[in-house]
Symmetry: C2
């Protein structure tokens, strides 16, 4: 135990954590950080050789903290730091906290963006800061040589050195090290770097890898196994920087486009599960090659890995038969987080590398949803946040720090462009943005691969490579929402055949009407069936959301997050016009891209995030929409555009919704008066 701090000792404040304490003069800054639980990386154990423990001193008066920090309050640069600066270079203002000592009150900045020894600096889509406390730590030690008087084994002397220099109580060691330790210690001339794995605090720390001499970099991978795409980041466990990112199509697609067809494949083929497990593991292995090549690293440099995926991807990756997930009661084989060795899942990394899979929330709400939850953190804030991840199933999480609920809704593949006559995946040539003039009913649109609108000069040239080949998910949302706003379809989703007289865009197909969005080759028509397919999908999504809101006793949400690829491209306004999501301040609605990947990175870089999401998932109340009597009712109410019951006061500030043709069943007393098509047109032309 440390002696109690003396009130006359200097006060040290660490930023950005805000942790503070008093320490006797002469205390190394690194020791102070350790005692306060401020995570400052260090590999060399205070020898001033690894350069990982850099800090900066902030000068000035910090009134709020009642502290005056000055460069005079830290020891002058000593010989060890001078040597490091000479050999490796120390950026201006930076100090090595293992060598610099406290000599007065200090405000110490722990640079969280430190990119030390970085050869490649990548800009990642999500540059959020993740405080580091990885499950794997590098520890350099000098080990006593063998001594006949104290016949401890090589491994035991290594452990003793780690206990002595790094404060471990006791350590285990991976079995494979027993055979290698002699060579490693002698190659390193009795100085080695050990990688120590400790995930849970209650776990005995474990030596999982050893290198001769000083090893100053180690990586982890964070991987999101989607049913369509597998995405991987390679991240420095020491600096947190993303060293490489890569993606690949999920090769399981050849066994079945969507999840249910893959489950069917397993049910109908004795080797189906094995083949799909092999395929996904092979793809992951190829991604490892890619990120290693990109980040100039070797597989042996990768010591930890985190994987997320929906329950079926999760099970197949682990080698578990997903058949049970194909029907009620949708029983997961394992729901809690899985910790194992990378070896166990056949991914070749460092021989001692570990693997962690986030927990699954329910049979349809997987580790990917858990990762999104971890990334967006509804449980970390007071406002009511709705997270939707739209795929063939929409995974929905709603809650705040008080309580979190989750469900999945069977949206089907319409949002992904399937079941839509002109639908296609989001790829060059696909219509992604649509505007319809409410007066003329003429459309203009943009396609993926060009920044030009279809009515702008040069559009035809710009898309000559791909043509206008179809319409993707975000385009479908927009065109149907615009058709609704332009009065082409009614609140109930019926294409108004009477308009055929006014515009050649309205055409009859069989007994119903459609809207010709593009009359090139192929001709892209939004049919009545297309509208119905989207209505079904959005009703399912909305009914799930509504059910959760009801469970929570919430009549509104404060923030909405669209996770996943689909969410990245849709315009929240149009999503709201269609009634995919409840009314909300549009500024509080945003797409969060691959939040599952971000959650995986968080779990990779900070083991406390693992406990956080494990605890959160245990607390999440799981709602199974299939057996909730109210779901069907919500579903029916949600078929209308935006829907039959809810008010959209926030949305109404941005768009003029058509008048409701029927009075709402309930709760819509606050709904704005719906204007006529003409009024709306006038209003829009102003905005």
């Amino acid at each position: 135990m440390n002696p109690p701090p003396n009130i006359t000792d200097p006060l040290v404040l660490f930023m950005p954590s805000g942790k503070r304490g008093r320490f006797p003069k002469g205390t190394p800054v690194l020791d102070a950080a350790r005692q306060l639980g401020v995570y400052v990386e260090s590999v060399c154990g205070g020898r001033a050789t690894c350069g990982r423990c850099q800090i900066e001193v902030q000068e000035g008066q910090f009134a709020k903290h009642k502290i005056t920090s000055s460069l005079d309050h830290i020891s002058p640069v000593g010989p060890k730091e001078e040597r490091y600066d000479r050999v490796r270079g120390l950026p201006e203002g930076r100090r090595l906290s293992c060598s610099a000592t406290i000599e007065g009150d200090l405000v110490v900045d722990v640079p969280q963006d430190t990119v030390i020894n970085a050869q490649v600096v990548r800009k990642d889509a999500d540059t959020r800061h993740i405080e580091r406390m990885p499950a794997v730590q590098l520890c350099y030690v000098e080990v006593e040589e063998p001594d006949m008087h104290k016949p401890l084994g090589d491994l035991d002397r290594l452990k003793a050195a780690l206990v002595r220099d790094w404060g471990f109580d006791t350590l285990d060691a991976d079995f494979h090290l027993h055979a290698d330790i002699q060579r490693l210690l002698r190659e390193g001339n009795w100085a080695v770097t050990a990688a120590i794995h400790r995930d849970r605090d209650t776990e005995r720390p474990r030596i999982i890898a050893v290198w001769p001499g000083l090893k100053n970099e180690a990586y982890g991978i964070a991987c999101d196994i989607g049913s369509t795409t597998i995405a991987m980041h390679m991240v420095s466990l020491l600096s947190g920087r993303v060293a490489a990112s890569a993606g690949v199509s999920n090769p399981q697609i050849r066994f079945g486009e969507d999840l249910m067809s893959r489950v069917s494949y397993v049910m109908m083929n004795p080797d189906g599960r094995e083949a799909m497990t092999k395929a996904v593991r092979q793809a992951v292995s190829e991604l490892v090659d890619k990120v290693c090549a990109q980040g100039n690293a070797h597989r042996e440099d990768i010591l930890d890995s985190v994987f997320v995926g929906n329950p079926i991807m999760h099970h197949l990756f682990l080698g578990i038969d997903p058949t049970e997930l194909g029907g009620a009661p949708f029983a997961l084989a394992v729901s809690d987080a899985v910790s194992c060795r990378a070896d166990d899942i056949g991914v070749e990394l460092n021989r001692g590398a570990r693997t962690y899979l986030l927990p699954c929330i329910a049979g349809h709400v997987g580790a990917d949803a858990a990762a999104v939850t971890l990334a967006e953190g509804p449980h970390r804030q007071d406002r009511m946040m709705l997270i939707v991840d739209v795929g063939t199933n929409a995974e929905i999480v709603l809650g705040s720090s008080k309580r979190v609920v989750a469900a999945s809704s069977p949206t089907g593949p319409a949002f992904e462009g399937a079941e839509i006559s002109g639908g296609q995946r989001a790829a060059p040539g696909a219509i992604e943005r649509v505007r319809i003039d409410p007066q003329t009913l003429e459309p203009r649109f943009r396609v993926i691969g060009s920044e030009l609108w279809s009515d702008e000069p040069g559009f035809a040239d710009a898309v000559s490579g791909t043509g206008v080949s179809g319409i993707c998910g975000s385009g479908i949302i927009e065109v149907i929402a615009e058709m609704f706003l332009a009065g082409i379809i009614s609140e109930d989703g019926v294409v108004d055949g009477a308009l055929a007289a006014k515009s050649p865009r309205i055409v009859q197909t069989g007994r119903t009407f459609g809207y010709v969005l593009s009359d090139g080759e192929p001709r892209i028509t939004i049919t009545q069936n297309d509208v119905r397919a989207i209505q079904l999908a959005k009703s399912a999504l909305y009914a799930g959301t509504r059910l959760l809101m009801e469970k929570m006793g919430a009549d509104r949400v404060d923030a909405i997050r669209f996770a996943g690829a689909f969410g990245s491209f849709i315009d929240p306004k149009y999503a709201m016009v269609l009634g995919l999501i409840p009314d909300c301040d549009l500024d509080a609605v945003s797409a969060v891209g691959n939040a599952a990947g971000t959650g995986a990175r968080m779990a990779l870089l900070n083991r406390s995030h693992r406990r956080e999401i494990e605890d959160t998932v245990r607390r999440i109340e799981k709602i199974e929409t299939a057996i909730e009597p109210r779901f069907q009712e919500h579903f029916v109410n949600a078929m209308a555009l935006p829907n039959k019951v809810d008010a959209f006061p926030n949305l109404a500030r941005h768009v003029a919704l058509p008048e409701r043709t029927q009075s709402p069943d309930s709760g819509a007393s606050g709904a704005p008066r719906r204007r006529s098509r003409e009024e709306r047109a006038a209003r829009r032309s102003r905005s």
Copy 2:
């Protein structure tokens, strides 16, 4: 926490542990045992189906314990016990402690020799009682079926059931179970037996195997890997009984007869280490087949394993290069106990089976010596105990509960019959017992394979199969001791050529004389060189012992244990006459056979013995004879018979030692007067 016991509650005393406590009437006896930490096996979790928790009530007044126990003080046999008795049979007087409740003061006997469900009952050489607290425990549970409202995974519901019924706080599970758990739970109709591994108390318990329904037996193996012989016991982890025992020659012999030649083989052959590792693991695997066949079990029934061996065997078995052990500083790669999965060492048992290797004491004092120490327990008693395990190296442990020291001495192979002109391994035809008439100098002897002495009628017929082929270790000890007692060799080990005039048994060979022990074919002569070889060996052993005694400040030992095969056959009296061991009450000198195997079984059946030997080995003071200046001095002093310095008061009560020809250097003031050859002959003829 339990409420504090009420003084009016019945008092229950458990035997043989002597643990006691007060419990409210109606408490199941099993619960009382658990609360007191008395280990009573139970697999079914109190369902009265496994029958493992049997106890007996002792009737009568136990004055010493101030308790009167009566059969009236336990609940009458209830319907569950009646059912068990009907179906499986309950021995007279036995009760199921999960069902029988405390109704008054009780003395409860926990039968430690219980052989329940035993199909084979074997008498093992060492029938010592080992209190059971194995690292692996079987737990039967009924698991909740999947529920859409509580979408916990199968494995998670299994864990929850184990937490609920068996009081675990939290559990991990081996990775391979993730893929199997669906099938296992459904096959068992949601009732399964889980094998839980927990070695250290600080470790999270871990599910390592699962069977559908009730599984009521599980085994462990305890294996001593000797350089000559590998011996294995298969033991029930539930009852402690030895279900099978088998042995096989160590196939590494083809790479080198003794340890050093095996190390040389590794040094000279690039694949030498691998070949020897493979050979020993293959032999172990064959032994597993043997014990399974003998014990009517399957490999999957084996859940735990303990191995011991000298450092070189230990390293080769683990796949570690033993070269470092071949020269100073004799550095072990690992000295502490090794815990791993049986998979890791390539031994195919149950997929989740674990392996434990006892710690090595020093570079020449291995896990086998640790096992012997555990079995004989010098650290558990107050008297000063000497343990010697004689092989090419003698491993010597000396100590008491206060302090333990250990060393090895380079005895060389003479005791094993090598380097002796007529020497051979202990096998039929080898002379193992020798008597020499001090008057006539005529010998008589016995050979392995016959109970007859060579001067008894029928001896020639009895040994006609093998003849008298040579002399083994115990025979060499006896013949040289008898030659000394008969005056054929002097205190200094010189064969007295003058006696050639008296007896044709004394023959000249070159410049020295020898003694013809057997004049058949082959003629077996004990040469001067043979005597010298034994003198060198015994001096090394004795010098090691003396060094340890000196370190301990001990001038005598209270008990001596000979471990290993060699020790099983030698007569302690002759060992003492030759001066292999210091003087000691002959009644306190005994051979303990395969004590290493016993120690391995103890570590298998009771994990607290693992902690005990780990702690003991850490505390043992290791003496490296090679660098101890005093060793050489002791060695020189010990060359004489029995030796030059010590008194042998205990031995002198049994045999008449020849007079010392030189006055002892020191410390022999208490030595008895040495008698002349004639006096001695007269004395012996009386005894």
